[in-house]
Symmetry: C2
Subunit: 421 residues, 2 copies
């Protein structure tokens, strides 16, 4: 029976593997973690609105009901497309008849000095937990030693005015102004600055002007300062230097400025597109490698319907992954692979409770409470299991109604002992 | 205004602080963590039934509605009862007019070689997370490298036949036989042994014989082997040696064999009781220190109603803490302190879904589904906030109904960078 190896357990990989459920193939899905992360809500985990398990599903559990699929934990080391073998850093190599590359991306620091060492990206579950624990730890440290406050202990610089930056800034604003204000009644909020830095002239550059203006207003209402046309030059543990010469005191830097594809992309011997993404044909296959598909953030995908290059979004990854799975099933049945047509559900960003923006590719826009609800509807459809879907809805709705958040603790006495693992 | 310093944010400390809400005092509660842990459900966190936030409340949030209370994070270093000052490793000293010692306990390894280094105690939230991540990591490692299975990679030795050992063994049994059996269909369950080792002749020594027999049966049904009359001699990372000469292959050792009081107890200059516990009078005050109270696992408390020494249970800690708070309020009002009378709700242990045991001090017993429900009722009453109570009920009930558990993931790429914190 042909073996399909799916690398990556994000939206793309899961979509591909599940669409192969009824195909006469063995599916082997490998991810370096043993869980799937619901990335669109990462910033909510980072700000304590929801709990880890609300956005992380054990990958193995997602395939209990799919007898032709196996899930393994493993870190990809190399791919040999000629002999059709994937090798791993930590397990036996796997031969494949079909390969789905869905390994996602990593933060791109564009060579900014210190950004990689001291910045907090927000792409993985680990990133979100680290950011949350760091922010809470800063507040506890400021409470123990108030002289640190004037040094910028509680200030956060958020870099990048795209969706990640806007969502993080808005969520931090609500955490600071609604929760920490009660938790730390002795600390004045004006000593806890949130500064969103964007190189271009506007936030959310892909959105229309009225949406951009609304976003600025909504962030300012949440206590976020906005600096446009400013570029980060270097990052130190407690200081952020801008190209304009301004130095911001901040012990936390959230890096939402860019991504590049998983480094395996560079080892495939194909010419890559912007962000090191792997270009694929309309049927999602690599040129000259008709048995290799790439989907999700690692891929440079052109929509067969509009000829546009598709953005790096969860819904694009899921639909492309499903399409790759369907195409493999067709190829196994000796049918032709079909071109991928994306069903646009709009691009969105959540600024805070009841405040969101949405824009479709045709230019329709929505903002405020309506967009907030639309966000919920679209993203809940992305969730993979009934249980998690329910839990996320409950936690999110609860947080939206009550301002309470339970996730803001630091399990700070945990130091994993690598020797033991 | 008199200042009451409460050291420790467990059941005892919270009980004391909250009962002082209407007293003319300033309350300062200090804990080394910034959260309260609902310890009776720790083993459920360790086995992935529930999520961290279901049993951990941000301590500061519990006192938003109590204007005379402040919460701080700090690690106690020393207490000078003559000058009435507490010093901390990480913050300014605090003077007190009244002091409530509610710092709990730590695992007691009785000098067993290697137990402290390689064993997993189960007393703090960090303990539970570490144990869970270790167990899941062992299974993933066995999946990557099946030759480790014969070396005991998946075997767990649980030491101690008291409530902690019985509850952990039962929960691991259900995790292994109901969940991992589906997650890892290629690994045979007989290669994943769970062995409960107890030095005495029976499990749950404080319970009646029929309860003990029921417990043994219920654990065996969950795939747990029981070794009675066996004592652990030494522990290595992958082997456990018993005094009888038997060597058990196991990469995990859960230590549920005993506790001793927080080390500050030894620095008070009073003669301690078994487990280094601080003896208190019937009004919960230290002899010769009428302004110092001790409650919870750190204290050796005699019930004024029955003259019995009370066990180290959450309900004892909460009631004693509340009583200490009431006594301080009385003393501030120039009234006399009152003796503490414990309202017994029974001692309980959960063996698994629908299987529990309960015994009151008068000798009434319950087992099976009835005891399971009684456990729920008693322990939900201990929970501190509405939100968490709801969430714990939901998660626990859901897990009880569906066999699904979402908490079994490992955020394994998290290595806290101490330099940054």
């Amino acid at each position: 029976m042909p073996r399909v190896v799916v690398l990556g357990g994000g939206f793309g990989g899961i979509g591909a593997a599940r669409k192969l459920r009824d195909a006469d193939v063995d599916v082997v899905l490998v991810d370096k973690q043993d869980y799937h992360t619901f990335q669109p809500m990462l910033y909510q985990l980072a700000t304590g609105v929801i709990d880890t398990s609300a956005i992380a599903d054990p990958l193995r559990g997602l395939f209990h009901d799919q007898p032709n699929a196996r899930v393994h934990q493993g870190t990809v080391e190399a791919i040999d497309p000629d002999s059709r073998v994937v090798t791993f850093a930590d397990r036996e190599p796997l031969e494949y008849d079909y390969l789905v590359l869905a390994l996602g991306a990593e933060a791109e620091f564009f060579g900014v000095e210190g950004a990689g060492e001291h910045g907090y990206p927000l792409y993985t579950l680990g990133d979100a937990v680290r950011l949350k624990e760091h922010v809470v730890t800063c507040w506890e440290e400021a409470d123990r030693n108030p002289s640190l406050i004037a040094d910028g202990m509680l200030n956060v610089v958020i870099v990048g005015g795209g969706a990640t930056g806007v969502e993080s800034a808005g969520a931090l604003g609500e955490l600071y102004r609604n929760v920490f204000s009660d938790d730390f009644p002795d600390i004045a909020q004006e000593h806890a600055r949130l500064i969103l830095v964007e190189a271009g002239p506007a936030l959310l550059p892909m959105f229309k002007k009225d949406i951009q203006d609304y976003t600025q207003r909504a962030l300012r209402e949440r206590g976020v300062e906005i600096m446009l046309g400013e570029i980060v030059e270097s990052v130190a543990p407690t200081r952020v230097r801008l190209k304009s010469g301004t130095v911001l005191k901040a012990h936390t830097l959230v890096w939402g400025a860019g991504l590049h594809a998983h480094p395996i992309a560079k080892a495939l011997g194909v010419e890559l597109q912007r962000g090191s993404r792997i270009p694929v044909g309309l049927d999602l296959r690599l040129a000259d490698r008709p048995e290799v598909f790439a989907v999700g953030d690692i891929a440079w995908i052109t929509d067969a319907k509009t000829d546009d290059v598709l953005p790096q979004l969860g819904s694009v990854a899921l639909q492309a992954g499903e399409h790759a799975g369907e195409n493999i099933a067709r190829l196994v049945d000796r049918k032709d692979a079909m071109p991928f047509k994306y069903t646009d559900k709009g691009t969105m960003a959540i600024i805070g409770r009841g405040a969101a923006v949405l824009q479709t590719r045709r230019g329709h826009t929505m903002k405020g409470r309506t967009a907030f609800l639309a966000w919920g509807a679209v993203h809940l459809a992305l969730l993979s299991t009934g249980e998690e879907r329910t839990k996320a809805v409950v936690e999110w709705t609860w947080a939206g109604l009550t301002h309470e958040r339970s996730g803001r603790i630091v399990v700070s006495d945990i130091e994993p002992t690598p020797a033991r693992r």
